[in-house]
Amino acid sequence: MSVKNKKKKKIKISDIIIYAFLTLWGLTTVFPFVWIINNSFKPSREVVNSSFSLPLQFTWENYLNAFSKLDILEAYKNSLLISGSVTLGVMVLASMMAFALTRYQFRGRELVLSLIMASLMFPIFSTIIPVFKMMSNFNLINKSVSVILPQIAGNLSFAAIVMIGYMRDLPIEMEEAAYMEGAKVRQVFTRIIVPLCKPSLATVAIFCFLWSYNDLFTQLIMIRRRTKYPICALLNEISSKYGTDYGLMAASIAIIIIPVLIVYIFLQKNIIKGLTAGAIKG
């Protein structure tokens, strides 16, 4: 009896240590965001002196300031336009490519597949200068399309690999049956393949959207006019312009984080599954 009790107690202690340790790391990921939201409601003076306490002088001033000094809504619009187009473009093109590569038998298929694999090794740095040249040649600098097209191309190989992996394993019987009934290839693709691929399309969509939305590098290079700035480019400018106004900084960061936080809470299961499934297959 006593031995049994002892064992039970031992397990409990180790569990407590494990939970304590896990919570500790959890605090490091939660604390910065709580800290920033808390401080966004204080005047700068208070942020500098007592950033840990709750606001003594609760104020919306920073938020009003942020929306009047910075064109945050405009930047949101620009970002949504860019990242939405990238996501849609990649989903369409990647599933088409994957369809061609899994269903058709043709000379050069191995070559196309190895080109796709090879392009995974190209970091954005190694293609951006000629792409920038191309965009200035066509007078597309400062236009959303100058970010959209390179980002679609940059995500396409990863997305195609995820889609190929998924499409390859779909049973072909349905397509056979559809063919017997007189369906065209286009119909087979849009009515059978695409609906069946929803899970992997979700993976691709989430990954592309986040990647495009968060990509400061391409935004900095292609978009040089302030009114056209997407979110990240705008944020980058805030620090050099208003870096000493801590309250404004905190509010701007909070404005950027809160919508993502809300979306994350609702979609977190899909996001986590999607990103890792993608990474492992990629």
Binding site: S126, P130, L156, Q268
Partner: protein, 302 residues
């Protein structure tokens, strides 16, 4: 791999639809990935006066001058060293912490989901926002860390001084991506069948030993994925250092290959030199990922 399912049925005999499905994506990749990639390598051998060659302008062929310059440029050396250091830190701390957390979470019964959600959160936040946040932590005057020190009666520290800057920049880089590797490893851990652990427990193998004899060998695939992503990810670092310590401040000591390439190309307009650094990043990426798969041999039967 078998991609040849389609050849079995008549539906996919006609080749015209194939072109319609394949070409748009392929063309886009050729125009925005392959052509620029090759052009970038060629550019590194020329003395470019501007991004676009103006009419009548001659670009001199300078062969390996840029490469020679690169290997004697002390700032490139700093950038390479920082990027290599970042790789090691990423493998040791990012993947290391992720592994410990994943093993611990797999041992508990309640709350797995909460920890996963919380740990993963920083990944969806843009590095730019995280960079600004850490700026507010590190500021000399009234930054969060120095407020802590003040409360403890310790004199303020310049967190972004020459000695500290690299360390302080690498902390958010590592911290923000631990959750990513954590989820990959946890997924691998959950795929291990409980039967194996039960059998080991019956044979008298304690939980602690099971980690070394069962868990680690069985998740080598996931670990290889993580290490590969961590080292290639370290080469792609740009946003966080660019926001926290712009242009390699102080005195170029926090330049990474990405930020140095950006500065050379787009603020100093040394375009051909920027192209050369970009190509160096590609080569390093290929070499380190080959090295990782050689060292970790994910497919070998040990």
């Amino acid at each position: 791999m078998n991609y040849r399912k389609g050849e079995k049925i008549m539906l996919y005999k006609k080749k015209l639809p194939l072109l319609i499905f394949l070409l748009p994506g392929l063309l886009l990749m050729l125009i925005f990935l392959f052509e620029p990639f090759i052009e970038n390598i060629i550019n590194s051998f020329y003395d470019m006066k501007s991004v676009i060659r103006l009419p009548g302008q001659e670009w001199k062929f300078i062969a390996f001058d840029n490469y020679k310059k690169m290997f004697s440029d002390p700032k490139v050396k700093i950038a390479i060293m920082n990027s290599l250091k970042m790789m090691i830190l990423a493998v040791v701390f990012q993947v290391g912490i992720a592994f410990v957390l994943a093993v611990l979470v797999s041992l508990i019964k309640k709350g797995q989901n909460i920890f996963r959600t919380v740990y993963f959160f920083p990944i969806v936040i843009s590095a730019t926002a995280i960079g600004l946040l850490f700026q507010l932590f590190y500021n000399y005057k009234g930054g969060m860390l120095n407020q802590l020190l003040k409360a403890l009666d310790v004199p303020a520290i310049n967190w972004l001084s020459v000695e500290n800057a690299f360390k302080m920049v690498s902390i958010p880089i590592i911290w923000s991506y631990v959750g990513f590797y954590f989820v990959i490893i946890l997924t691998g851990l959950n795929a291990i069948s409980d039967d194996i652990y039960e059998a080991a427990a019956i044979d008298g193998c304690p939980k602690f030993k099971q980690v070394f004899y069962i868990t680690i060998p069985l998740i080598r695939g996931a670990m290889t994925t993580c290490v590969t992503l961590a080292v290639t990810g370290a080469l792609k670092v740009f946003d966080l250092p660019w926001v926290i310590v712009p242009k390699g401040a102080p005195q170029g000591t926090t330049h990474f290959l990405g930020t140095y390439m950006y500065e050379q190309t787009f603020t100093i307009s040394n375009i051909d030199y920027g192209s050369t650094i970009a190509f160096l990043i590609v080569i390093l990426g290929v070499v380190v990922s080959k090295l990782v798969s050689k060292l970790m041999r994910p497919d070998a039967n040990l």
